[in-house]
């Protein structure tokens, strides 16, 4: 059953991404000021939405449910979200090199995003350092919530500070800087990435179950 869900999610993601690639490269026109490079937004924004959604889910899971099963799910979601947040940093950097002429600028949006990414990377490292499951779950949940405060700061950074980073362009954030036809593929790509990320989280959860089975078999072997 789980295999079918993974395959189904991947199939939906591949179909949506294929259709979106056609729209992004063949239908959507170049942006007036930036030219073709603006198309990076179609991977940059959906991946950050996916990453932030994952961080939100991860920070709530264990504290709401208080069950170790949810702690494992939170760890899986965080790991996958971290990969997506890494894409945001990489694609943003490539866009900045073309538009700003530099790979990186220590301005508020970029710096807070990097700190956020490092916080969640620290979360995963912390989990490896603590053996006792309940303590690991509690401390990880605290770090995850601390990390989510960072997510809010990243999101609001372009409103609070004068930054080099472009101002909001999506109509849902009051930007209105894009034609409706140019905005659509961003949301469809987001849906595709959420499907892909969900499939990855299910695989990650299955690996966690195998790890637990190995641990219990080892304990059994030691008790002989």
């Amino acid at each position: 059953m789980r295999e079918k869900i993974i395959l189904g999610l991947v199939a939906v993601a591949v179909a949506l991404l294929g259709w979106n690639l056609y729209n992004i490269f063949m239908v959507v026109p170049d942006e007036a000021a930036q030219g073709a490079i603006f198309r990076i937004i179609y991977i940059h924004l959906p991946t950050i939405f996916t990453g932030f959604l994952g961080f939100l889910v991860a920070s709530c899971l264990y504290l709401v449910k208080g069950d170790l099963k949810y702690d494992a799910l939170a760890a899986g979601v965080t790991e996958v979200s971290l990969a997506f947040a890494g894409i945001v940093l990489a694609t943003g950097s490539i866009w900045a090199r073309i538009i700003w002429g530099v790979w990186w600028a220590w301005e508020p949006r970029l710096t807070t995003m990097l700190i956020c990414w490092l916080t969640y990377a620290g979360y995963l490292m912390l989990r490896r350092a603590i053996d006792e499951p309940a303590q690991r779950a509690r401390l990880s949940a605290v770090v995850s919530i601390f990390g989510f405060v960072e997510v809010i700061i990243v999101y609001k950074a372009i409103d609070w500070f004068r930054t080099l980073h472009p101002q909001p362009v999506l109509s849902i954030r009051g930007g209105g800087g894009m034609a409706p036809g140019m905005e659509g593929p961003i949301y469809w790509n987001w849906l595709a990435f959420v499907c892909l990320a969900s499939a990855m989280v299910i695989v990650r959860m299955r690996q966690d179950e195998i790890s637990r089975e190995i641990d219990s078999l080892r304990r059994m072997a030691h008790s002989y």
């Binding site: 991977i43 990969a83 890494g86 894409i87 490539i94 299955r206 195998i210 089975e213 078999l217």
Partner: protein
């Protein structure tokens, strides 16, 4: 632009490969431990 798309897909691809390698390692370990605890095993 293509570098941006390539970087995005490269990171996803790298993570998927990492997941696959981890799964293979875990399954090998599970088989090894199962054989260890099977009745009759030394």
């Amino acid at each position: 632009m293509f570098y941006g798309f390539f970087a995005g897909w490269a990171i996803i691809g790298f993570y998927v490969v990492l997941l696959g390698l981890r799964e293979r390692k875990l399954r090998r370990e599970l088989d090894r431990v199962r054989r260890m605890v099977e009745p009759g095993a030394k």
